[in-house]
């Protein structure tokens, strides 16, 4: 792996993370009186779960967002807690960002509709988990769904990945074949994003939907606590990201994907079916976005139709911060953004947390224009 991701670059990425964390903790120690009144979102998150009345019926309900009072837990360190929350959020964000980065790398497209793929994952899981009769158009079959979470999630991921295949087959591939410029394609993606957003809202309504009704037990890790479901989500995210890394670095098709990202014309001249690789990337990217959406819905207890749209700028920030088109850059960028977003709430209002992330993006790009893992190429 080290021959692909330069050791020095990896070290730099780690240093950025460690310095950000250390600075946050140090700054927090000086400013502790000021932060005493801030809401510990992680603890609030825990209390939100425990204070909610959970339906015992298999049918999934809708919830409304309620203000939650902070509930200090003895032994937890708010800075460590927020840092861990940031890592968790970063990992979940990475699931969506990696796909966005792969699409950009292989096609040059900044896909503004990627956020809706995240929403689609969460909303389709809600759909499959809700007990209701379903009939298919043109097929005289009616059946009832209301499946448990895991089969619902798997069905949602498969369907979302299928939309990636459909999109590339009937929209993006014909546009590429007709040599439609990247800017025009980007505008198409904005239109698609709006269409998908409205469609999802029309289908599922504007309420926040819960995809799981089980109570998330908090596990005390000494200086921080973490929900059992969150721990599972983190494990799934790490497994998915490791699988993507393995695919890109160790498999023939993965190396071909990187080759297409580098130079599609040369990849074609090497005998690689570029269109096939791009199709696979679309399927992977939309599937990963769906996984991200489902895990985010679990992490936040619920998700609305615009959960992905709200994250889109953060995804772009993560992809740009890590290095445009670099799948591993998207991972590192997401972690930095995740930590920045969560830790900023210690000192600033939660309304400003996304602004902090985008501020960090600007600062890093001023110092390192190619992003954290982006590499300046030798000329000549």
């Amino acid at each position: 792996m080290t021959n692909i991701i330069d050791r020095r670059v990896l070290m730099r990425a780690l240093i950025v993370l460690v310095v950000a964390a250390a600075a946050s903790i140090a700054f927090g120690a000086w400013g502790s009186p000021a932060v005493a009144s801030t809401v510990d979102t992680a603890v609030a998150h825990a209390s939100a779960v425990s204070s909610e009345t959970v339906a015992t019926a298999p049918q999934v309900d809708t919830i409304t967002q309620t203000a939650v009072e902070p509930d200090e837990e003895i032994g937890t360190n708010r800075y460590v807690q927020q840092f861990i929350n940031g890592i968790v959020f970063g990992l979940l964000l990475a699931l969506a960002s990696v796909g966005l980065s792969l699409i950009y790398g292989t096609t040059g497209l900044s896909n503004f509709a990627h956020g809706e793929q995240v929403s689609l994952g969460a909303m389709l899981t809600f759909f499959f988990a809700t007990q209701q009769p379903v009939s298919l158009p043109f097929v005289p079959v009616e059946f009832t769904i209301g499946w448990p979470l895991i089969p619902s999630a798997l069905a949602a991921i498969a369907l979302a990945a299928g939309t990636g295949w459909l999109q590339d087959k009937f929209l993006w591939s014909p546009l590429r074949r007709r040599k439609v410029s990247i800017v025009q394609q980007m505008i198409v993606s904005i239109g698609l994003s709006l269409a998908m957003l409205n469609f999802i809202q029309w289908w599922f309504g504007a309420e926040r939907r819960r995809i799981s009704t089980s109570i998330d037990t908090r596990i005390d890790m000494g200086v921080f606590t973490i929900g059992q479901t969150t721990l599972w989500s983190v494990a799934i995210a790490i497994i998915c990201l490791a699988a993507v890394a393995y695919f890109l670095l160790r498999t023939r098709t993965g190396r071909a994907t990187r080759a297409v990202s580098d130079n599609p014309a040369l990849a074609s001249a090497s005998g690689i079916r570029v269109e096939k690789v791009v199709r696979l990337v679309w399927i992977m990217a939309t599937g990963l976005a769906a996984v991200g959406g489902i895990l985010l819905a679990l992490y936040d207890n619920a998700a609305a139709f615009d959960v992905g749209a709200r994250l889109l700028l953060l995804m772009f920030a993560a992809v740009t911060l890590g290095g445009l088109g670099q799948a591993f850059g998207a991972l590192v960028g997401s972690l930095v953004i995740g930590v920045a977003v969560e830790m900023s709430t210690l000192w600033l209002g939660t309304d400003l947390k996304y602004a902090v992330a985008l501020g960090i993006l600007i600062l890093v790009l001023l110092v390192r224009p190619q992003g954290i893992l982006g590499r300046a190429e030798r000329v000549g």
């Binding site: 071909a256 990202s261 014309a265 040369l266 990849a267 001249a269 090497s270 000549g380």
Partner: protein, 246 residues
Amino acid sequence: MSEASVETPVIVNADDLYAGYLPGIDILNGCSMEVREGELIGIIGPNGAGKSTFLKSLFGLVPIRSGSVTLGEDDITNLRADELVKRGIGFVPQSNNVFPSLTVKENLEMGTYQRPKSFKEQYERIGELFPKLVERKDQRAGSLSGGERQMVAMARALMMDPQVLLLDEPSAGLSPDRQDETFVRTRDINKTGVTVIMVEQNARRCLQICDRGYVLDQGTTAYTATGQELLKDPKVIELYLGTLGA
């Protein structure tokens, strides 16, 4: 030099090609070429004559509007590049000819993408031709010098074990000693039985090593003869070779 004669079968035949990048604007205006098995063909001509376009049209990278290209008995006009690779044609572009984020070894692996089982055997064979690349197998291709990249590009194309190799200005941007090395290597590759079609700006050096040369002018084939004949042709000397390097 290889012993290609009139009895040797024709492997590539381009007949009266019209091609161009933009609709309605032809760069090639009736270009023809006949290449026999095992030949080393040099294509020279002034800037804008359509040399690179001709090579790219053979490889399906520029759409052919009229005319035909055959490989042996098969019509390969406007086939996709990956189809042509499957049929045994390798192409080395003039620039952007490596995958910068891939290591040298991974770049070579891409050469055997369609026949992954042959990688080990081809890697050993190429390792003997380009020992420097084996030494740098784990280095990112993007960090190599221009000459080294050119070497990787040629080696990648040879990993396909092609019957025909298309080289687009392989000496462009290289220092004189590296240029010499490139020409010698091209000759060596041809000696192993690979038919080579090479476009070159360094016309004199190209004609010195090639069996036959084609001189292109304004998208048409202006002259064709053996390399040695073209080197001595007063018209070619006056128009394309100049007298300084003679």
